[in-house]
């Protein structure tokens, strides 16, 4: 008993000839189907190149088109010829011209001889397949497909739509349960003969001739009628990308393929000289006992598919520049923005770094320079503190900063004094945690000794900016985690509010805050706000600060760092 190969060829005929020769010399008969569209000259040359081999023959040629019956018809013709001409064949192996045998013929023959009644064919019910691309699985068997998918895509799609809407369905012949699977199989003589000599064959053929992609379902379904022992897997190693196109194997896959112990792999890049040279050289059989073990290859390729389909959120580059709001992640990691905190607390940066366990920057968008943590002039990825470079594309600056520091939480200070160009971006980024103490920008003005006319103008400007920003942060489009307090509300109970923020930054840390940062001196701040009012400006963002000194003393109490026991 031996194994016979039916080969379906349409391109790279020189490679197909090499492979056919390898099998034929190894003692396995080969029947070759060549696509009718291959021109006469190339066909003759191909035929002649194998003319010296008695056990290689060519079958009737069909014009093959992907997804159509012609591929099944060609396989049937090849298989019939194989069964008729080579009685010594116990199993028939369907292969393509871009397949490559990874093990000697004797190995495969012995493996199959030990399993004489087993049919190796991936055969899964439509409910269980997870790999169909394009959404047509069960409907392949119940709709009509008179139009070519390759050449008449619009018509194809519309006709499918039409049938769905008017509930037009075909009847599946009695006794058939649709199964699908890889079109590369290896069937026992008994099963294959039963399929091809079935008295109902005409009924089956007529039905499958109008099924969509019948080469993935004809043998897969009919095998279930006759086989006594279906092993639902393909002996041909093949991998598919996320679009359902077969992956190619290249020279650098040599070791991986060798270690897989698979019998046949496809598709091979026709110019992979090393693969062909290595696997077609005479090799000692590994022994029929060695089971194919494609796990490693499976893992490698599924990783590639995953990478392809998930992309890399938060990365902006020439090859990946998503349209706005279709980003699949605007930034690559969560980060925190603090507004007003440094105005209100002394050494807030140092305190935050200690409790949040994060990289704490100053005002990254300050007008003079980007204030990186530790007062550095540069940051990872060669970002520099130049305000010109940053302001040229502030959003790119921010996404780069977050991307470059993957693995470490970034926090930065913000203020109405800073570049406001990123406000919409920040507000609509789910990775942003934005905490705002509104009106705190007035504290530095209150402490500065500028003339009151200057102070008043600056206060009006900053208030306008912050009002605009808060409008954005309160809009319905916000995706960020936003918290806004007035200054007066915040200093009522800073400990609890800071604890909430810190907990959100590091949720697993169970550590309680034992101190809050020291509040700056606010004695006379109420009077300062009253002075602004007297000058005709209306401070709206700070909350209530009475002019008398009553609440001031309350603030003074809080200004001492206190310890929670």
């Amino acid at each position: 008993m031996t194994v016979g190969f039916v080969m379906m060829c349409h391109t790279a005929l020189d490679r197909a000839a090499q492979v056919a020769r390898f099998w034929a010399v190894g003692g396995a008969p080969v029947v070759i189907h060549v696509d009718w569209r291959v021109d006469a000259l190339a066909y003759t040359k191909f035929e002649r190149s194998l003319g010296d081999l008695a056990n290689v023959s060519f079958s009737r040629r069909f014009k093959c088109e992907w997804g159509t019956w012609s591929l099944v018809a060609a396989a049937q013709a090849g298989a019939e010829q194989m069964l008729a001409r080579h009685p010594e064949v116990g199993h028939v192996f369907l292969a393509s011209g871009s397949c490559l045998p990874l093990r000697p013929v004797q190995d495969l023959a012995a493996y199959l001889a030990a399993r004489p009644n087993t049919d190796f064919i991936e055969s899964v019910t439509t409910a269980d397949v997870g790999w169909t691309v394009g959404g047509l699985d069960e409907e392949r068997f119940t709709l009509h497909f008179p139009f070519s998918w390759k050449r008449r895509r619009r018509l194809f799609d519309r006709y499918v739509e039409f049938q769905r809407r008017f509930k037009i369905r075909r009847k599946i012949p009695a006794g058939l349960v649709p199964h699908m699977g890889s079109q590369w199989w290896c069937l026992s003589r008994r099963t294959l003969a039963s399929i091809l000599q079935d008295p109902e064959r005409k009924t089956h053929d007529d039905y499958f001739a109008k099924v969509w992609i019948p080469d993935e379902s004809y043998f897969q379904t009919l095998t279930r009628l006759y086989s006594t022992n279906v092993e639902s897997r393909s002996l041909t190693l093949s991998k598919f990308d996320y679009q359902g196109k077969p992956h190619l194997f290249y020279d650098d896959h040599l070791q991986l393929l060798r270690r897989s112990n698979c019998f046949v792999a496809r598709k091979i890049w026709p110019r992979a000289d090393r693969l062909y040279a290595n696997f077609l050289a005479q090799r000692t059989p590994v022994g029929a006992t060695a089971e194919p073990d494609p796990v490693k290859i499976d893992r490698l390729f599924s990783k590639a598919v995953e990478r392809r389909t998930t992309g890399r959120p938060g990365l902006y580059m020439q090859s990946r520049f998503p349209h706005r709001d279709r980003e699949n992640g605007k930034t690559s990691a969560p980060y925190s923005v603090f507004q007003g905190f440094t105005d209100l607390f002394e050494n807030f940066d140092g305190w935050l770094a200690k409790y949040a366990g994060a990289r704490v920057h100053g005002h990254l968008f300050a007008p003079e320079r980007a204030e990186f943590a530790g007062n550095e002039t540069h940051f990872a990825g060669c970002l520099t503190d130049s305000a010109h470079l940053r302001d040229y594309n502030p959003q790119a600056f921010l996404t780069s900063l977050i991307w470059n520091s993957r693995g470490e939480r970034q926090c930065f200070q913000f203020s109405p004094r800073d570049n406001q160009a990123c406000n919409w971006f920040l507000a609509t980024d789910p990775n942003a945690q934005i905490s705002v103490i509104s009106g705190a920008w007035a504290v530095p003005l209150f402490h500065a000794s500028d003339s009151f006319a200057v102070t008043r103008r600056e206060a009006a400007r900053l208030q306008k900016i912050e009002l605009d920003q808060i409008d954005i942060l309160r809009s319905m489009y916000v995706k960020a985690r936003v918290r806004i307090w007035t200054m007066a509300d915040f200093i009522e109970n800073p400990m609890e509010l800071l604890q909430t923020i810190i907990d959100e930054i590091s949720p697993r840390s169970t550590r309680r805050l034992t101190e809050v940062p020291r509040l700056v001196d606010l004695t006379g701040f109420g009077q300062f706000l009253q002075n602004l009012k007297n000058q005709g400006m209306q401070p709206r963002l700070m909350g209530d600060f009475p002019v008398d000194d009553g609440p001031q003393s309350a603030i003074a109490r809080h200004s001492r760092p206190y310890i929670v026991r």
Binding site: T309, M317, Q318, H378, C382
Partner: protein, 345 residues
């Protein structure tokens, strides 16, 4: 379909305008053939499927040996090179190479759109139907798995994906220490000296008219254009194209017409395959070259605007930076996100 008439008319006008522009560029290139003299013609050797490389060079005899070796090893089968008035033996060196054809010209580099007119003419005449790699002598083309998979594997894959063009990010590579501290010898790997690059300070903008991106940043933006980032060099290129005689490069190899070819990115946030161009500009030769260039005034845009840039280079600066990354191969560029992995199918 549902577009209002006014918009339709507007879109049509844009398309006509672009078409006219492309035809004008092609006409310029066609005319510029008179400026080229054949020096060495081996184009009869070019096979039907060969991968071709095109370049315009000037005094590059130092870089050429490694440049040719690198791209030959990738799988370039013929080099078509315009020699713009070299006096350092470039032409003789190229003439001695078995796979190079050389044209020479003394005409103005600037007037030929920085060599693009000449190269476009060669592309038009010899590149039609071939995969063509258009490079400068200080660029080394790489792509994911370039060390194990030949260029032909890449072009076969692109064809299977129906993609006629392949983009690349230009990475400015620099040494550690002053630029002239290490001397480069012809034939050496320039990136043994220029081992460093900026990992991520790149900005991306969209140019709607040509539907192409505008990537800037890297070492040159950081050091020389910090005050005027808008002037910083463009870093996105489209070096590899299955050429058609109707195509035209618009602005160096940064963008192409018809503009559909510039679609190097996927609007849904999916990474599209791309490569990188390692830029070996900052070898020790840059200092003398900058002096010459400054005097020649043949740079892009307004030459005077680049005086400061040339002065900066002449002063032999150290471009190295604490945040710089040391180059460790294509896998590193993929991990850093500078080059997406190719889903080889």
């Amino acid at each position: 379909m549902g577009m209002p008439l006014q918009q339709k008319v507007g879109a049509l006008r844009v398309r006509l305008r672009l078409r006219l522009k492309r035809q004008r560029l092609l006409w310029r290139s066609f005319r510029s053939r008179h400026r080229l003299c054949v020096a060495t013609d081996r184009t009869a050797q070019i096979g039907r499927d060969d991968i071709l490389a095109f370049a315009c060079v000037r005094n590059e005899v130092v870089r050429l040996p490694w440049f040719l070796a690198h791209h030959r090893a990738l799988g370039v089968q013929h080099f078509l090179i315009v020699d713009n008035d070299s006096d350092d033996g470039t032409r003789d060196y190229l003439a001695a190479q078995p796979d190079c054809s050389v044209w020479r010209t003394e005409a103005s580099y600037k007037a030929s759109r920085f060599g693009i007119d000449w190269v476009t003419w060669l592309l038009m005449h010899y590149g039609h139907g071939h995969w063509c790699l258009t490079l400068d002598a200080d660029e080394a083309f790489i792509y994911p798995e370039h060390d194990t998979r030949p260029l032909r594997a890449l072009t076969d894959w692109l064809e299977a994906q129906n993609r006629p063009a392949f983009g690349a990010l230009m990475l400015d590579m620099y040494p550690r220490g002053p630029l002239d501290a290490q001397t480069y010898a012809p034939g050496d790997d320039p990136f043994a000296i220029l081992r460093w690059f900026d990992a991520d300070n790149y900005t991306v903008l969209m140019k709607p008219l040509l539907r192409c991106l505008w990537v800037q940043g890297g070492a040159r933006a950081r050091v020389f254009f910090a005050d005027e980032p808008r002037r910083a060099p463009t870093l996105n290129k489209i070096p590899l194209v299955r050429w058609n005689r109707r195509y035209a490069y618009v602005n160096s190899t940064h963008s192409l017409m018809p503009r559909e070819l510039n679609q190097m990115h996927d609007a849904n946030g999916q990474p599209l395959a791309a490569g990188a161009l390692l830029h070996s500009k900052f070898l020790h030769t840059i200092i003398d070259k900058s002096r010459e260039e400054k005097a020649r005034r043949e740079h892009f845009g307004e030459p005077a605007a680049f005086d400061a840039y040339y002065d900066g280079l002449i002063s032999n600066p150290d471009l190295w930076h604490e945040g710089a990354r040391e180059y460790a191969g294509w896998r590193q560029l993929v991990a850093l996100g500078l080059m997406p992995a190719i889903d080889w199918g």
